[in-house]
């Protein structure tokens, strides 16, 4: 952690504090998402998570992405979630129960393994080269810059993304339409 030692000016300290707060709230909100028994609260916790992520994006000079995050994710996706949760109605469920006995333990183990591996991978492989990131220009991360990169360097990705969105919209509509009720349909709970 040579960066800690190298830069310890006042601005740096502020950035550190912001980062710690944002990081902590991000992770806490994540834990909250998976822990609440009421899905409505889980969705609300997700908003917190998304907001802290947006802050972290800002710290990483990705302003446009941060804005998009708040607008698209927090503004549209989570709202959709809240609508559906409200429509579906209250369901309470104990988060950690059910399924085969080995499921819980195995799940924790798998998730933990993934986590550790990622850390190890990053730490071992790229530890050296990740220690120092250079300065970036002011234009980095700005909307104009993003637009140029998107439409010039990665035009194909742009077009395909738009097609995917179209397909998803169509799919969502189809799934959501009323279908004729079939004969003898039972209630399965």
């Amino acid at each position: 952690m040579s960066t800690l030692v190298v830069a310890s000016s006042a601005g740096n300290v502020l950035v550190w504090i912001v980062w710690i707060v944002a990081g902590f709230s991000c992770l806490a909100a994540g834990v909250a998402v998976i822990s609440f028994s009421n899905p409505f609260y889980s969705a609300l916790a997700l908003i917190g998570n998304l907001a802290s992520l947006a802050v972290m994006y800002l710290l990483l000079s990705a302003e446009f992405v941060a804005a998009a995050q708040v607008l698209v994710y927090a503004g549209a996706v989570v709202v959709m979630f809240l609508f559906v949760i409200a429509y579906v109605g209250p369901r309470h469920e104990t988060p950690w129960s059910g399924g085969p006995s080995w499921q819980t333990v195995a799940a924790v183990a798998a998730a933990g393994a993934l986590l550790v591996e990622i850390v190890v991978a990053i730490g071992l492989e790229a530890g050296g080269s990740l220690s120092h990131s250079g300065k970036v220009g002011a234009a980095f991360g700005s909307p104009a810059w993003i637009g140029r990169v998107f439409l010039v360097d990665h035009l194909l990705a742009f077009e395909i993304t738009s097609i995917v969105l179209l397909v998803a919209a169509v799919g969502g509509v189809i799934l959501g339409t009323h279908t004729r009720r079939l004969q003898g349909e039972e209630v399965v709970n």
Binding site: G99, P100, Q103, A106, E117
Partner: protein, 629 residues
């Protein structure tokens, strides 16, 4: 000469193939005549070869003819060879000649049997096999013929396969023959190891070490003893009487059982290198001729008496060949083929005419109703006992006198056995004669006798019997050793009599006298006991039991061999086959199902589980990459 040999060999084989292929498309009679014709054609071929051989010089009468090289392995080479020489010519004539007569006889005997075609196919096949045995140009061909006659014997003994006793007898014959085959094969292996060849010339001229020679001779003797039903492998022959009478006549009197004697004569150079074993063969013959004669005294089945008589006479042949008088043994083989086949066939005439009855206690006085049969049987019986001028006299006595010629202690023992055997022969043969043929016919006979259109049998049965009766009476005049011996001279290039076994004229005379007297005494005793009934049959329960139980050989073999084998088989079936092998299938199935059940528990149907597997898999892959780096 070789053309005759090939014709002789292949004609019966052709007969078999034709009968088999045509199957039910030809009538039963046609099949019978095809078989008979082919065997007579074979006889023609044998005569051709014989005549041609006669016209040649003495030294050039041996010829080997090769069809093609059959086996080749490194230096070891075996060809499909036939050997035509004086010894094989004699055997060819006997086999095809007597065989032809017997096959002709079968036409009448087997008439009416549903499976006649199968019979004639088998019997042609037998003739072919026997000819292959005697014509074989190397030891391997001989062994092939050896095995094939064993097979034919099995097929024909068990011909009436719905009779369990016949099937048992066939199996018993085959298994005991197989024992002999095994010892012969071992002997051949030793020969190959020492000489790298199975050809007669190489093997007979090889000098084997003492132990090797002994083992080879012992192995050959084992085969001969099994095939010729000598002690200790004699128990199959009486049981083989389950087969049809012509089969008994051909296979178990005239030809197959004499193959052992032929073997000793053919491989005599090997036996001479192991003189002890050769004398052992003679001893076996001597022992068998006595034991068989004793057992024949208490037999009640007409065919069994004749079977034991065969066993006894082959004992004589073994005795002759064993002491070194090969031509005497072969001459007795020749005359025995005639009179033994005759005896079987006349017995067959009686059996055929009296509803298949074979028990001599019921068959009394047949002679009144069947005079032709009676006289032919008498001719055969006198030949068997060795009364001059019938043929047995000329052939049996030289054997006994060869034993005397040896001069050793065992030679004298053999001589005594031979003379005692002559007494026993007279006794049991004429016991049979007096019980069955002369006198008033018994009520049973009167009731069941039926003639064949006014005659005693079909002409196909009567003609061969007649021919054999003539041969049994006169064929012996071919050779009378003190005075003329063309037969011995004929065999001299191939099987010369050992010097130690050539009897002097004096020995010949007093032996003949002793044997003839013994035979006549036997006939006299039989007449007194069974015809005149002046002497009662002695009670002697111990001896009677011993003879009736055939000296307990069957009992012993049952205890030693059959029961342990059967017990082992049952044990294996119950404790190994059923629980382990048969259960393995279901067990495997169950194990698979259980494993499947275990794996099935992974298919929980829960989405979460599947995602878990994805995550775990991803973790594993990343781990692998990390380690690889």
């Amino acid at each position: 000469m070789t053309g005759g040999a090939w014709l002789c060999l292949l004609a019966p084989l052709g007969g078999t193939i034709v009968i088999t292929l045509l199957g039910t498309r030809i009538s039963r009679l046609a099949a019978a005549w095809i078989a008979t014709t082919t065997v007579f054609v074979a006889f023609g071929g044998a005569v051709w070869a014989f005549v041609d051989m006669q016209s040649r010089q003495v030294g050039s009468r041996s010829e080997i003819t090769t069809a093609w090289t059959w086996l080749q392995s490194g230096n070891f080479k075996v060809g499909l060879e036939l050997l035509v020489d004086p010894l094989s010519a004699v055997m060819m004539l006997i086999v095809s000649g007597v065989g032809g007569l017997i096959v002709l006889y079968s036409i009448g005997y087997m008439d009416g049997d549903e499976e006649e075609r199968r019979y004639f196919a088998y019997i042609s096949f037998f003739v072919f096999s026997m000819l292959l045995l005697v014509e074989g140009g190397n030891l391997l061909m001989l062994l092939i013929g050896w095995g094939l006659v064993g097979l034919s014997s099995y097929l024909l003994i068990g011909f009436w396969h719905d009779r369990p006793s016949a099937v048992q007898a066939a199996k018993k014959a085959f298994v005991m023959n197989a024992l002999g085959d095994a010892t012969m094969a071992l002997a051949f292996f030793i020969l190959i190891a020492h000489t790298n060849s199975l050809s007669f010339a190489t093997d007979f001229n090889a000098h084997l070490s003492g132990t090797a020679a002994n083992f080879v001779a012992l192995g050959l003797l084992g085969g001969a003893v099994a095939k010729s039903a000598q002690i200790p492998l004699q128990t199959w022959l009486p049981d083989a009487m389950e087969g049809p009478t012509p089969v008994s006549a051909l296979i178990h009197a005239a030809t197959m059982v004499t193959a052992g004697v032929y073997l000793i004569a053919r491989t005599h150079p090997l036996f001479e290198q192991a003189r002890t074993i050769e004398l052992l063969a003679a001893g076996t013959g001597a022992l068998t001729l006595l034991v068989a004669g004793l057992i024949a005294l208490v037999q009640t089945d007409i065919k069994k008496v004749i079977a034991y008589s065969t066993m006894s006479q082959i004992g004589y042949m073994f005795l002759g060949a064993g002491v070194g008088a090969y031509s005497s043994g072969m001459f007795h083989l020749l005359t025995h083929a005639f009179f033994k086949a005759l005896l079987f066939m006349t017995a067959g005439l009686a059996i055929h005419a009296i509803a298949g009855e074979q028990d001599i206690r019921k068959l009394r006085g047949i002679g009144r109703l069947m005079p032709f049969t009676k006289w032919c049987f008498l001719a055969g019986a006198l030949a068997l006992v060795g009364i001059p001028p019938f043929s047995g006299f000329f052939s049996k006595d030289p054997i006994i006198s060869s034993a005397a010629a040896l001069g050793t202690w065992y030679g004298w023992i053999f001589w005594v056995c031979g003379v005692a055997g002559a007494f026993l022969t007279g006794l049991y043969t004429f016991r049979l004669w007096f019980l069955v043929f002369p006198g008033e016919p018994s009520p049973f006979v009167r009731e069941h006798y039926h003639d064949h259109h006014g005659r005693e049998g079909a002409w196909t049965m009567l003609v061969p019997v007649g021919i054999l009766a003539v041969l049994a009476t006169f064929a012996g005049w071919l050779q009378w050793t003190p005075h003329w011996d063309p037969f011995t001279k004929w065999l001299e290039p191939v099987a010369p009599t050992l010097a130690a076994a050539v009897p002097t004229t004096t020995q010949e005379y007093y032996t003949s006298a002793a044997a003839v007297v013994a035979g006549l005494v036997g006939i006299g005793v039989a007449w007194a006991v069974y015809s005149r009934r002046t002497i009662a049959i002695p009670a002697a329960p111990f001896w009677r039991r011993l003879f009736e139980n055939k000296f307990y050989f069957d009992w012993l073999y049952d205890r030693i061999f059959y029961r342990p084998a059967a017990a082992t088989a049952t044990f294996l079936l119950r404790d190994f086959e059923d629980p382990v092998i048969l259960q393995a299938g279901p067990d495997l199935g169950e194990a698979t199902i259980e494993t499947g059940g275990l794996v099935r528990r992974l298919q929980t149907g829960l989405l979460r589980t599947y995602v878990l597997f994805v995550a775990a898999g991803a973790a594993a892959v990343v781990l692998a990459f990390l380690i690889a780096k």
